[in-house]
Amino acid sequence: MKLDPVIRDQVLATVPSLRAFAISLCGNVDRADDLVQETLLRALAHIDSFEPGTNMPAWLFTILRNLFRSEYRKRRREVEDVDGRYADTLKSHPEQTGRVEFEEFRTALSRLPSDQREALILVGASGFSYEDAAAICGCAVGTIKSRVNRARTRLADLLSIDSVDDFGPDRATRAVLAGGGRN
């Protein structure tokens, strides 16, 4: 079909963030790119159901999120250790100290329940309002707020952050020690 270039450009403009959402959700760039591709195929096939002037990012994020959810359910039946594999894909280049903290954060993020992870990413990184995030996830605004709060608390717990002091110069060193001890 011939698409209004304005709409096409809106779609393309959303792709970087949509893809960042996908990578953050599934922790694997190849899988994320497949998800984005599948999302765009479906979105463009149903572009008539998008009302011009409404929120294009929210619309695309909703499609991707639902695809991820149904795929996640399928994979869960096939492979039990989905989270373990997720974590493995994140342990790629821990050479630099700044990198260690980064990897540590991504691993902690991967350990969150997926409903908390998606809520935190949508509100805390993608920049959606609580209302938009609730619409994307098909739940109540209060549910999103509580998921975001629980996600933050759990992350602080996983990263052993008790106070701002924990982010001092020793932080990277301790991350190296902790990582070396565990792995």
Partner: protein, 92 residues
Amino acid sequence: MKSRKTLNEAPTAETDQPEALNAMERVTAPRRAEVRLGREVQHRIGQQLRAMYDDFVRQGVPTHIEELVHRLTEHDGEEPADPVKTQDDGAA
């Protein structure tokens, strides 16, 4: 706990209370601190999350995805080969 003085607690909240209430306060304080994360901690988590996310965003649009969008939007009367039957999966 190190973060205690950074939480926005009224400075007189504990000193004005009788001993019994003070004891209760000590018992409940750790749980409250867990539930209500310090602003610095929340801020720091937010920063790390955005740093990670923005790293991905900066990668832009992969060539094959850009080509796909152009291919799908510039051909007349062609639906994508992929059927869309399960689109509502998980939405309800």
